[in-house]
């Protein structure tokens, strides 16, 4: 099913509103909605899945606009939704998965066939007779997914479906889910906070904040090359610096930050005030200029201000005219024998420095 | 919203009406075969009432409903027309009842004995004295513990009449009012080793459990006469006078006299109730 949104408006209260001027889900596409808490993702999902009504605007489902409540009910029968909690009904696994088929009037033998089919698809065929309260969380989720797909919906809406599941099981489930979605040839919209989930599942990623869509693109595009401060912060880009473009040569941009020069890539012209983004993982530290830093465009001497141990990673706060944070492995930190007050060389590629025009 | 409520409300009203119809129809059918008796508690507690009710019911096919409420309340019920017959043992109140026109055909049909029980050693030496009045006087003088029912019962009224007869108002430090039934009152008296006025039947039931003995019995003043009074149909149209009248006649019949006189002999080894010849 194809969904097209035009000028959608929803008001939470006087201060906050959801405003989506343009959004499309193509046939068979899987789109993820990402963003910080309160960005409006869940509200958007509720609007798309016909759970709540907008203040203004239209949502077209296969080019049709639902007019009356009968339309809405019929449309609802062609879609599906999965939430954080499984909401499995009291009873057996089989009863649960059979429910949507029962209310659509399918015959008993057909129900049996479909239910067993979809349970198998998610690897829980052997649990058909079990009562739902005896299931583990992973099994429970799989049953829930089977139930949501058993009637071959044309589009499925997911609201952080695996956020309560442990990592190991999560990937397995997502992999089965993606196959199943392909199997029924449905479109899907995921609301997720989990980058892994977004990466594994989506064809396209949409970043939202403050009730608006800020960016759209492939998962790689948006997480590694965010176009906005908000997206960058969300995807964990530290090291946001302001500067001015001094020169531009082809794709390479020379930026003046304080009294330092930094080379990066992006879309800006000389004289522009820009925002410079550099991921801490891309900053390589060494005692002196050596092989590691030779390929890097940017090589800067820094003072070490602070060292913080964060599990398997060490975060190093540096000063080189401006504040810079580096994220290195513990082994590297040990080998470098870093301590506050010491000196170290920081190097990073120009391609890791992402430049955004300000204003 | 309100729509969802309409359906259950309709069903409820239909069900409710049906129930009421069923109830009133079944009630009506048996109405003239029903005899409601407002009765004093002692005749019910002894078990005699049940025996008489069953026997009468077997003979004449009435559904007898003896309601054990105590003499005072029974007469109250009667004055509202809420029963067909009263059986009480409170002569003065009874006479007033008839005088006020609530009851007719007052018939004294049996009596039982009150007895004075107390601790076996009889600290007030009450047992030996000449009359019940003297006993009570002595108890008051010595300040011996006396337990009373202090309720609306015939027993209490009898006890009061004796106190009044000797012109004594019992004092709180040796006089205990329990406000409860005869059995409970006796148990309390037993615990406190006090004197108490009781009917023979209840005493016999509890004899083994309380350490009190019969100190005085047989006085004329201790005679407790039961009467049956039919409720005046002229005052209350809905009373079943026919049944009440039949019951009164039943009470004084020869077969019934035998039942009454033999009641309790086997269980207690003593006659509890005596018919009035």
């Amino acid at each position: 099913m194809e969904i097209v949104v035009k000028n959608l408006l929803f008001e939470y209260d006087r201060h906050f509103s959801l405003d989506i001027s343009n959004f499309t889900v193509r046939n068979g596409e899987i789109v993820s909605l990402m963003g910080p808490n309160g960005a409006g993702k869940t509200t958007f999902l509720l609007l798309l899945s016909l759970q709540i009504k907008p203040r203004a605007g239209e949502i077209y489902y296969d080019n049709k606009l639902p007019a009356c409540s009968r339309d809405i009910l019929n449309l609802r029968r062609r879609i599906s939704a999965v939430f954080q909690k499984d909401y499995l009904f009291n009873g057996t696994v089989f009863d649960n998965v059979a429910y949507p088929l029962k209310i659509r009037g399918f015959g008993n033998s057909e129900i049996k066939r479909k239910v067993c089919n979809y349970l198998e698809l998610f690897g829980v065929g052997h649990l058909a007779g079990k009562r739902v309260r005896e299931l583990s969380s992973g099994q429970s989720k799989r049953v829930c997914l089977a139930r949501s797909l058993v009637y071959s919906p044309e589009v499925i809406f997911f609201d952080e479906p695996t956020s309560l599941i442990d990592f190991g099981t999560k990937e397995e489930i997502l992999s089965d889910l993606k196959k199943a979605i392909g199997h029924v040839k449905a479109s899907a919209v995921f609301v997720t906070q989990d980058k892994t989930e977004a990466f594994l599942m989506s064809d396209r990623l949409v970043f939202m904040n403050g009730g608006r869509i800020l960016e759209e693109g492939t998962p790689e595009d948006i997480s590694f090359r965010p176009m906005s401060v908000e997206a960058a912060t969300f995807f964990g880009k530290d090291n946001l610096l302001s500067g001015q473009v001094a020169e531009k040569e082809k794709d390479l941009i020379k930026i003046r930050i304080k009294n330092q020069v930094v080379f990066g890539v992006g879309d800006a012209d000389p004289g522009d005030e820009v925002l410079v983004m550099l991921s801490p993982e891309n900053v390589v530290l060494s005692k002196s200029i050596d092989e590691n830093s030779q390929s890097a465009r940017n090589v800067i001497y820094c003072d070490v201000l602070d060292i913080k141990d964060v599990g398997s990673i060490v975060q190093v706060e540096l000063l080189c005219g401006f504040r810079l944070r580096a994220s290195i492995t513990r082994i590297s930190a040990e080998m470098l024998d870093l301590r506050p007050g010491g000196r170290v060389t920081a190097s990073f590629k120009a391609s890791a420095v992402h430049v955004i025009k300000r204003g | 919203m309100g729509e969802a409520l309409k359906k259950p409300v309709t069903i409820l009203s239909v069900v409710g009406l049906t129930i009421m119809l069923l109830i009133s129809s079944s009630g009506c059918a048996a109405r003239n075969k029903e005899l409601i008796i407002g009765s004093t508690t002692s005749i019910v507690d002894s078990g005699l009432m049940d025996v008489l009710a069953e026997d009468f019911s077997d003979r004449y096919g009435y559904t007898v409903k003896p309601i054990s409420v105590g003499s005072g309340e029974a007469l109250e019920m009667g004055s509202r027309g809420d029963c067909d017959l009263v059986i009480v043992h409170s002569k003065q109140s009874e006479l007033k009842f008839v005088e006020d026109g609530f009851g007719i055909n007052r018939t004294e049909f049996m009596y039982n004995q009150f007895v004075l029980v107390g601790p076996a050693d009889d600290p007030a030496s009450a047992g030996q004295l000449g009359s019940m009045e003297d006993c009570f006087k002595k108890i008051a003088e010595t300040g011996s513990l006396f337990v009373s029912r202090g309720d609306d019962s015939g027993t209490y009224k009898k006890e009061l009449s004796i106190w009044e007869g000797v012109g004594i108002k019992p004092e709180v430090d040796w006089y205990i009012e329990t406000g409860q039934g005869m059995a409970d009152t006796l148990v309390i008296a037993g615990e406190k080793k006090a004197y108490v006025l009781t009917d023979m039947g209840t005493y016999l039931t509890l004899k083994d459990k309380i350490e009190l003995s019969v100190l005085r019995q047989g006085d004329e003043i201790l005679k407790n006469v039961y009467s049956a009074i039919a409720i005046n149909p002229k005052k209350f149209k809905s009373v079943n006078f026919e049944a009440a009248d039949k019951f009164i006649k039943y009470l004084v019949s020869d077969e019934t006299r035998e039942i009454i006189n033999n009641f309790g002999k086997e269980k207690y080894g003593e006659q509890l109730f005596y018919t009035i010849p």
């Binding site: 609802r76 939704a81 949501s148 | 969802a4 259950p8 509890l206």
Partner: protein, 237 residues
């Protein structure tokens, strides 16, 4: 203590001997309580659900009434109905005082608010997500409500058990409305009162013990139905 021990012996004796009078009282007690519980459930369960899921103006007032009704003193209920049902009273023409009908009336009045109130709480406690999920799977309004409401199963049984318990053990109302007439309206509790008044403590205690056993057996049955044939402890999620 000796009294208690003798009472227990007598209780066993009563049950084993299947004494006629005893059976009469026992069966009457059960029949009346079951009928009353059934009526209260029939009315209370659906109305409780409806109050819980609908919004309407008088809702808070109605809920307050129901909650107050849960603490209604049975003897007050008995007194109130007595005054209405006396021959001299406004509903005297019904002629149901001192009949089992009046007892049922009192018992329903006592247990109905309990069943209604507990059902209402149970439904209000259901995660609203269930309704959402049912809707997302294509249920229409009626279907979605049915599915969501079915989740409070534990609560409904609790309501039923509480309602049952409230009337099998009560004596004030059934005494006043029934009159404690042998063979007609004498139930376990009123029989205990009578035997105590008579001084037959042993018999009273044995009846009391039987009543306790009865209540426990019924509660056990209710609990077993409530918990279902579950193997393993349900996960706390």
């Amino acid at each position: 203590m000796e009294l208690l021990f003798n009472g227990i012996k007598a209780a066993i004796g009563l049950i084993v001997s299947l004494n006629g009078g005893f059976l009469e009282i026992l069966s009457l007690t059960l029949v009346l309580v079951l009928i009353s519980t059934f009526i209260s459930t029939f009315i209370g369960l659906p109305v409780g659900v409806l109050i819980a899921i609908n919004r309407f103006k008088a809702r808070n007032f109605l809920l307050a009434l129901v909650n107050a009704g849960m603490g209604l003193p049975p003897v007050v209920v008995g007194l109130f109905y007595s005054i209405l049902l006396w021959r001299s009273g406004p509903l005297g023409f019904l002629n149901i005082l001192y009949t089992p009908y009046a007892i049922v009336l009192g018992q329903v009045t006592i247990s109905l608010p309990i069943i209604m109130g507990l059902t209402c709480s149970a439904v209000q406690g259901i995660d609203p997500g269930y309704r959402l999920q049912a809707r997302a799977l294509g249920a229409n309004r009626v279907q979605e409500v049915i599915k969501a409401v079915a989740e409070a199963r534990l609560g409904y049984f609790a309501a039923l058990i509480a309602g049952f318990g409230s009337i099998i053990s009560e004596v004030g109302s059934v005494l006043m409305l029934g009159g404690n007439i042998r063979g007609q309206t004498r139930v376990m509790t009123t029989a205990i009162v009578l035997e105590t008044k008579k001084g037959n403590f042993e018999l009273a205690i044995s009846l009391g013990i039987v009543l306790l056993l009865l209540t426990f057996a019924a509660s056990y049955l209710g609990t077993w139905l409530q918990q279902g044939r579950a193997q393993g402890v349900p996960k706390w999620r």
